[in-house]
Amino acid sequence: MITPEHEEMAALYALDLLEADVTADFEAACRRDPALTEMVDELRNCAALLAYQVPPCAPPAGLWERIATEISDSKKTISIPTPPAQAKLVFPHWVPWALAAVLAICCGVLFLERQEAPGFPAELSVAVLSATGDAPTAEEAVVVWDPATQTGRLDLARMPRLESDRDYQLWVIDPRYADPVDGGVFAISGDGTAHWVFHPKAQIAGAPKFAISIEPEGGSVKAQGPIIMASR
């Protein structure tokens, strides 16, 4: 039985007018009473229909291109590259879970860092790097990138150690720059893992791509050594 009081709250809730201090109680009441939930949905849909009264107006030129570009960039960055046929890898069953855990930790870390930063939240992007050739590398590396804070985090495992006069260096590929932007040199721990937070040397726009090369000890200003891993 829906009371007149609940009817009033449903109407206010449907228009986002319910006061914050009673919203939680009302939502709890909705969870207990499917009929009340149905009423809220119906009222909300009815209210939304008022938008039919507004004359249509063409959005600014270029807006669709911005949307399409953003979607295209996010797809490119998130897509997981297919390993080359001749070097097909068979992952142990725990690898996807481990990768998921790493991603979750990365997102969590960046999220917590974000809480301390002012400004609006932005979308994190995730890039998976895979081997570009036959050189021994980690099976996969993951970069979580936060464009708002210009901060990224690289996580990888089972990366071979290099000779003492060589270092791995991360590069950030932003099409606005002629050369890859230096993401810094990172160290591999004794167990072959790296968990590294980096800040590129230049401002990066959108959802960039990433690459790892082998450079002389201390790194290079411009990538010189072989690129061994890259995102697509």
Binding site: A47, A48, A51, A68
Partner: protein
Amino acid sequence: MTTDPEPASDETLLERTGSGDEAAFAELYRRLAPRLYGYLRRMLWAEGDRQDVLQEVFLQIWHRATDYRREKSAAFTWAVLITRGRAIDRMRKLQRIERLSDRLEHESPPEISVPEPSEDASYAEQKELIRSALDSIEPENRQPIELAFFKGCTQQEIAEQLQQPLGTIKARIRRGLLKLRKQLLTKS
């Protein structure tokens, strides 16, 4: 003689968008964006905010189209609810509830391409249905609903603007919205 196939409904386009169909998404944008943008012009004063919100709305539609259930609402309604939520978020974030003043009425909106006749007919039919349902609601009950929906006013702001006690405003919103629902159910 063959006839052109029936154009896909907004609902079908939205479902195809959920499957990653970019062409369906582009067509959905062509159909819905002018109406959602028109709505945002009523909600938000700053042009930059309107454009940002419309972009956010369509990115959300792209990413969340799989959540859409046609048995729960029409595609347009679903999109309007997303738009409204985003616009209200923007207002609150900016800590300014700036609405279009009378001068908006003196602006000339840019021309838009004329929709396909079948789409136009469908929207015109819906618009007429809503208009007729709204006309059956007493003005004193309709006004606070429109202030909330089109201008994002809070209860308090509505009460101040209409110079009525808060309790009266709440009761009027309840009566108005319940009647709108009843009228729409009857007419449809």
